[in-house]
C-alpha cells in the first residue's frame, strides 16, 4: 500500500532538503512521488509538522552482560520500586528490553548502537537486542585488551593476520564495528597497574596503548568496516590526564578516520583550588582542526544513574565514588569491566562543571556532522534525558536558566555562558540522522531520499523543544506506523545490523586451537547463531566497503 505523508516540513540535510513537501512510502521504503498523488491508500496529514528521518544513537549501553549486571545491582531503582524511594531519572528509563524499545521509539529513534559488546558476551547481547521491540540495533565488538591481539602485536605478526582476526571476531559476534576501550589498560590492571597512559606498556606484552589503537585502526580499514575504530581513550575522568589522553589519541589519527567516544569525560583540566577545570575549548579546537576525527559527547545530566563500562581500571577507581556505595567489577578474558552507580548532583561543583563541559563541546565543535548526540547512556545520564539536551542545544535562554541554578563559581570556569550558538533543526537532523548513518555506513537510513528505509519521525513544533522531542507525533519504522502522539501503537521487532567480514580460513582453525589452549574455551561459543534468538529475521546485513 502507498502511504502519503502530506504537507510536512521535511528536514533532510543528507539530501539538501529543508522545505514543505510530501513523502511517499511503499513496502517499507521511501518511494518517488507517483504521478497521481491521490492514489495513496493512506494519507497522514503532516501539515504544520516537522518530518525527519528516524534518529540514530551511535553509543548507548542498552544490552549485554554489564547492562544486565546493572539491573541486578540496582533493584531499588527499578520502576516497580519507584513509588517507594521516589521517582528517579533512572526509574523512568525502564529496565527491561521491552521498555528500552518503547522509550526510544516514543522519542523518534529508530536505530541504536550498543557500543561495548565483549566477544564473550556477544550471544547474550544479541539475545537482549532481539527482545528490544521496534528499533533496529547494532553492536560494536570490543578488542584491544585481549591476549591474542596483544600477543600478535608483540610478536610482530602481519597487518593481514591482525585484520583476519578482527574480521573473524566481527563476523562471529555479528557486530557492525570495532571498539577499543582503554586499550591495554584492563590487561595492565590485572597486573596491578593502577594508572596507565597512551604510551605506557602493558606488562607481559611490552605493547603500548598507541600500538594497539594504531593496529586496530588499520585492521578496521583493511577489513572494509565502514565505521572507523571507535576509541574509548585512556584515563577517562582524570583531571589533566584525561585531556592529555584525548589529545594524544586525536594526534595519532594520522590521516585515517577515528571516532572518540564520550569526549566530555576527557575535557577535564587541573586548574583552580579544586584542581578541576574545563578543557572544553581546547578540546573542541583540537577536534575542529583534525578532520579525520569524529566524536560523541557523553553529556552529563543531573540525577541518579549508573555507570556501565568495560574500562575495568576506570570502574575499579570509580568504586570510591559509588552512590549508592556498591559496585560489581569483573576480571574477565580481555576487557572485563564494571558497574558503578553514580548520582550526579546539580549542587556539586564537579558534576555541574561536567555538565557545562559537555555543552561547551557540543556548541564549540563547529561541524554538526562530526559531533554526535550521546549521554553514553546510562553513564552520563539515562537516554530519557535526551529531550532536555535537545532543548539546551537549541535554546540559549534555557541554558542560562540552568547555569543560574548551578553552584556559584562554576560559571567562571566554563565558557558556556558566553556561547551564543543555538542549534538549528537542520543541524539537529545532521547530528542525529545524516551524520550517524554515514559514520556507521548504513546508507539506507539517516535520510529521506528515494530508496531509503522508511524510518521516519514526525514532530509537532513547540517553543519548548524538550516537549517537541519527548513525544514524536508519528514514528514510522520500515514504513509501519508505530507511534502516534508520543504513544506506541504497534511493536514489531526490528533487526540487528551486521557486517559480513571475510577472514582467511586458517584464522578460523588457529582460533579453534587458541581459545582451547589459552582459556579452555570452545571457539564455537563465540559465534552468534541467529537461530538461537527466536526472531524471524534477526539480522540485516550492511555492506562492507
Amino acid at each position: 500500500m502507498l502511504t502519503r505523508l502530506k504537507g510536512g516540513h521535511v528536514v533532510d540535510p543528507a539530501n539538501g532538503v529543508d522545505e514543505v513537501r510530501d513523502l511517499f512510502i511503499e513496502d517499507g521504503k521511501i518511494v518517488a512521488a507517483p504521478t497521481d498523488a491521490g492514489s495513496a491508500g493512506e494519507v497522514v496529514d503532516c501539515g504544520g509538522l516537522i518530518v525527519m528521518a528516524g534518529a540514530i544513537d551511535i553509543h548507548s549501553h542498552i544490552a549485554g552482560g554489564h547492562v544486565n549486571t546493572a539491573r541486578l545491582l540496582l533493584p531499588e531503582w527499578h520502576r516497580a520500586f519507584s513509588a517507594r524511594p521516589g521517582d528517579t531519572a533512572l526509574s523512568k528509563v525502564g529496565w527491561t528490553t521491552e521498555e528500552t524499545g518503547l522509550r526510544y521509539a516514543e522519542m523518534g529513534f529508530t536505530t541504536v548502537v550498543e557500543p561495548a559488546m565483549g566477544p564473550q558476551s556477544a550471544l547474550h547481547a544479541h539475545l537482549e537486542l532481539a527482545d528490544i521491540p521496534i528499533i533496529d540495533k547494532a553492536t560494536l565488538v570490543v578488542l584491544g585488551n585481549d591476549d591474542l591481539l596483544l600477543s600478535m602485536i608483540r610478536d610482530g605478526e602481519s597487518a593481514d593476520a591482525i585484520a583476519d582476526y578482527v574480521a573473524w571476531t566481527v563476523d562471529a559476534s555479528k557486530a557492525l564495528g570495532v571498539k577499543c576501550i582503554n586499550a591495554g589498560g584492563s590487561a595492565a590492571f590485572k597486573e596491578n597497574v593502577r594508572s596507565y597512559a597512551f604510551d605506557a606498556e602493558v606488562p607481559d606484552y611490552g605493547v603500548s596503548s598507541r600500538q594497539i589503537v594504531k593496529a586496530l585502526q588499520r585492521a578496521v580499514k583493511d577489513t572494509g568496516i565502514p565505521h572507523p575504530l571507535h576509541v574509548h581513550c585512556n584515563n577517562l575522568g582524570m583531571p589533566g590526564k584525561s585531556a592529555e589522553a584525548a589529545e594524544a589519541t586525536i594526534m595519532a589519527s594520522e590521516g585515517l578516520p577515528l571516532h572518540l567516544a564520550h569526549i566530555q569525560f576527557y575535557g577535564y583540566g587541573t586548574e583552580g583550588k579544586r584542581g578541576f577545570s574545563s578543557k572544553g575549548q581546547e578540546l573542541a579546537a583540537l577536534v575542529n582542526r583534525n578532520p579525520d576525527v569524529t566524536v560523541d559527547i557523553g553529556q552529563v545530566m543531573f540525577g541518579q544513574t549508573v555507570t556501565i563500562s568495560s574500562d575495568e581500571m576506570r570502574q575499579f577507581a570509580g568504586r570510591a565514588q559509588a552512590s549508592p556505595g556498591k559496585s560489581i567489577i569483573l576480571d574477565q578474558e580481555a576487557n572485563g569491566g564494571g558497574v558503578v552507580p553514580m548520582n550526579y548532583q546539580e549542587k556539586s561543583f564537579h558534576n555541574a562543571l561536567q555538565w557545562a563541559i559537555g555543552l561547551e563541546l557540543f556548541l564549540l565543535i563547529e561541524d554538526p556532522s562530526r559531533v554526535f548526540f550521546t549521554t553514553d547512556h546510562p553513564n552520563g545520564a539515562p537516554f530519557t534525558t535526551y529531550p532536555d539536551i535537545f532543548a539546551l542545544l537549541m535554546d540559549r535562554d534555557m541554558r542560562q536558566t540552568w547555569i543560574e541554578a548551578l553552584p556559584k563559581g562554576v560559571a567562571k570556569w566554563t565558557s558556556l555562558p558566553q556561547i551564543e550558538r543555538e542549534y538549528t533543526l537542520n543541524e539537529i537532523a545532521t547530528m542525529t540522522r545524516a551524520a550517524p548513518a554515514r559514520l556507521l555506513g548504513t546508507k539506507d537510513r539517516g535520510h529521506l531520499g528515494v530508496g531509503a528505509t522508511a524510518d521516519i519521525s514526525v514532530y509537532r513544533p513547540n517553543e519548548d523543544k524538550a516537549k517537541m522531542f519527548a513525544a514524536a507525533a508519528y514514528l514510522f519504522k520500515d514504513g509501519t506506523k508505530v507511534v502516534e502522539n508520543g504513544a506506541v501503537i504497534a511493536r514489531p521487532y526490528g533487526r540487528a545490523l551486521t557486517l559480513k567480514t571475510q577472514s582467511d580460513a586458517a584464522m578460523g582453525s588457529r582460533l579453534d586451537r587458541y581459545f582451547d589452549d589459552a582459556y579452555g574455551l570452545d571457539s564455537r561459543w563465540f559465534k552468534v547463531d541467529g537461530g538461537a534468538l527466536r526472531r524471524d529475521m534477526p539480522f540485516r546485513e550492511v555492506p562492507c566497503l
Partner: protein
C-alpha cells in the same frame, strides 16, 4: 471523632496492598472515593470496596477491623496520625514510615518497619524476618523511630539498621543485627544463630544472651557503665518498661571483620 474504619469482609484470596490507606493520603477523599482505590495485587483489580467495608470518619486515625497476614504495606510511608490493626498484618508493615503511630494487635510479616525513618510501631505478637531491614538492594534499614515487638522477631532483625531504637520482648531469630550500622536494640530473650555478623557500630542489649558469638567478636569484660544507666532510663521513657536497669553487664565487641565498633551487652 471516631476513626476511619476498614472492616475486612473476609479473608482475602490474594495479597492486598494497603499502602494508599494512610492518613495523609486519605484526608481529602470521600468514602465513595476511598472505596474505589485499588488495593488488589492480581489482574482482578480489587478495590477497597471489594475487600473492606469502609466507615468514614476522621482520617487522622485509621482502624483495620479484623486483620490478615495478607494485608501488606499497612502504614507504608505514613507521615503522621495513627493506624491501629485489630489483628495480624502482612509484609512491610510500616515500611519507610516517617512519622505517626502504627499498632498491630497480632503478628506481622517480614520487613516490618523496613527502612523507616521516624514514628512508632508496636506489634502485639511476633514479627517476620528482617525487622526494620532494607528491601532488596537498599543500602540502609531503619534510620529513625522506634519499634516494639512484644513477641519474637524473625531472622536478621535490625539488618543494616542505622539509627532509632528497637525493643523485642521475646527472642530474635537467626543472625539478628546483621550488617548493623548504628542504633540501639534491646532483646528480652535470646538471639538465635550468630548475632551481629558484619555489624559496624550499634548497641545491643541481649538479656538472654546468644546461641553463639562469631570468632570476630571479642569479650571486652564486665562494665559498670554510666551509659547503660542513661540508656535504660532513656529507653524506659520510650518503651515504658525495659528489661535492664543499668546494672553492670558484660560487653562483647565486634564484628572485627569489618570495623569492630559494635557492642553487645549481656548480663554479667
Amino acid at each position: 471523632m471516631s476513626a476511619l474504619t476498614f472492616r475486612l469482609k473476609g479473608e482475602p484470596e490474594e495479597r492486598i496492598d494497603c499502602s494508599s490507606l494512610v492518613p495523609h493520603h486519605l484526608a481529602n477523599f470521600s468514602p465513595a472515593e476511598i472505596a474505589r482505590l485499588p488495593v488488589g495485587t492480581t489482574k482482578r483489580g480489587l478495590l477497597v470496596g471489594d475487600v473492606f467495608e469502609v466507615s468514614r470518619n476522621d482520617a487522622g486515625e485509621i482502624r483495620f477491623e479484623g486483620g490478615s497476614g495478607r494485608l501488606d504495606r499497612i502504614g507504608q510511608a505514613m507521615q503522621g496520625g495513627v493506624i491501629r490493626v485489630a489483628g495480624p498484618a502482612g509484609f512491610r508493615f510500616g515500611r519507610a514510615m516517617t512519622g505517626g503511630e502504627l499498632h498491630a494487635e497480632g503478628s506481622v510479616g517480614d520487613l516490618c518497619g523496613s527502612a523507616m525513618a521516624g514514628g512508632r510501631i508496636t506489634v502485639g505478637g511476633d514479627c517476620g524476618a528482617r525487622l526494620g531491614g532494607p528491601d532488596a538492594g537498599e543500602m540502609k534499614g531503619m534510620s529513625g523511630g522506634t519499634i516494639h515487638v512484644k513477641g519474637n522477631a524473625g531472622e536478621r532483625a535490625a539488618d543494616r539498621m542505622r539509627r532509632g531504637s528497637v525493643l523485642v520482648g521475646g527472642d530474635c531469630g537467626k543472625d539478628a543485627f546483621s550488617r548493623m550500622i548504628a542504633g540501639t536494640v534491646v532483646v528480652k530473650g535470646k538471639a538465635h544463630g550468630v548475632p551481629g555478623r558484619l555489624m559496624k557500630r550499634g548497641t545491643i542489649v541481649l538479656m538472654g544472651g546468644a546461641e553463639r558469638y562469631a570468632p570476630t567478636f571479642v569479650d571486652a569484660g564486665v562494665h559498670d557503665l554510666l551509659v547503660l544507666k542513661l540508656m535504660a532510663k532513656a529507653l524506659g521513657e520510650v518503651f515504658g518498661v525495659v528489661p535492664f536497669d543499668g546494672s553492670p553487664m558484660r560487653k562483647i565487641s565486634g564484628d572485627t571483620a569489618i570495623l569492630g565498633l559494635g557492642e553487645i551487652y549481656v548480663p554479667a
